[in-house]
């Protein structure tokens, strides 16, 4: 491969990441507003992709939700007001860090419940094993097994 071609390759690879970087230029009145905006878009869920926040998602709805968030931040709405606006429309599902209440209690306690079930089963199994540790072996079958091993050794030798 010639030197120019490898140079092209390197430059091309460098450009590929640039092409993916999306730039949304936003202007804020204060640095505090900007911080509020970037915090909010990380905490709001994209309803289309569902496992991404709206900061990471390129879904069209996420773009519009970011714009909506931006507009509300520029109107100097507080974090709670903006989250409240979204929850009122999309439910608590829109929050990546939903509050602990009656509706979300299973969500928060579920992993611990499953852990509890697992530990209980484990303890019970160990206890059961401990209570009958003696393994009864039929004397006849033990003899048969020994004979089998014996014949195997013989055949290998020959």
């Amino acid at each position: 491969m010639s030197r120019t071609r490898s140079l092209f390759l390197v430059v091309g690879l460098l450009c590929s990441t640039l092409a993916f970087a999306r730039v949304e230029v936003h202007e804020f009145d204060t640095p505090e507003q900007e911080a509020r905006y970037s915090k909010l878009i990380k905490e709001l869920r994209c309803l289309v992709c569902q496992n991404q926040n709206i900061a990471d998602s390129n879904a069209e709805l996420a773009v519009d939700l970011r714009r909506k968030t931006y507009e509300m931040v520029r109107q100097d709405k507080s974090e709670d007001e903006i989250t409240g606006y979204m929850v009122e429309r999309y439910g608590k599902f829109v929050q990546y860090d939903p509050p602990l209440d009656l509706e979300t209690v299973l969500l928060w306690s579920g992993p611990f419940l499953i852990l509890l079930i697992g530990v209980t089963l484990l303890i019970r199994t160990i206890q059961r094993r401990r209570s009958n540790p003696t393994v009864t072996v039929d004397a006849d079958r033990l003899k048969a097994a020994a004979a089998l091993l014996e014949t195997e050794r013989d055949t290998r030798k020959s």
Binding site: L47, L61, K68, Y90
Partner: protein, 181 residues
Amino acid sequence: MTRAAIPLAIFLALAGLFWYVLGKMNEGEYNPRDVPTQFIGRPAPPFSLPDLFDPTRQVTSAEMAGRVWLLNVWGTWCPECWKEHEYLLHLAKNENVPIIGIDWRDDANEAKAMLARLGNPFHRLGFDAHSNAAIDWGVYGAPETFLIDAEGVVREKHTGALTPQVWNSKFKPYFANGGAS
């Protein structure tokens, strides 16, 4: 029952569960990605959007006050919307259901072309290029269909294509009480 039968029993139970759930998904009665709407029993959020056919005019929710109506959010980019289009036409023509459409994040010309070719089921049709009304209504996918009663309260919502089963079980009862007139 011997111990060996336990895994088989678990397998059969799971297979039965999956079969049941997938069946419900095929019928459009269950959608695992569904985000339940927050609007059932709450007053419908007002909207005012430019008319798709005449952007100088506005389509508003206020003009439907006192009637039972459907709000259908759709776009030509959404395959399910093409699927339900014929059924919407049937509802509008044969069952006299007033349907207000919101053409969401769409290309206006493509939307007009589609309606010219397949027919237009919409009583009025707003054009929402930037999700202004869509976000206000908590819309996250298309198609989504809302039912709003004569008092302006949202009574039902369905995500995904409208089918006769869904219509009959969820929406039709509201029109049977003479609400459509």
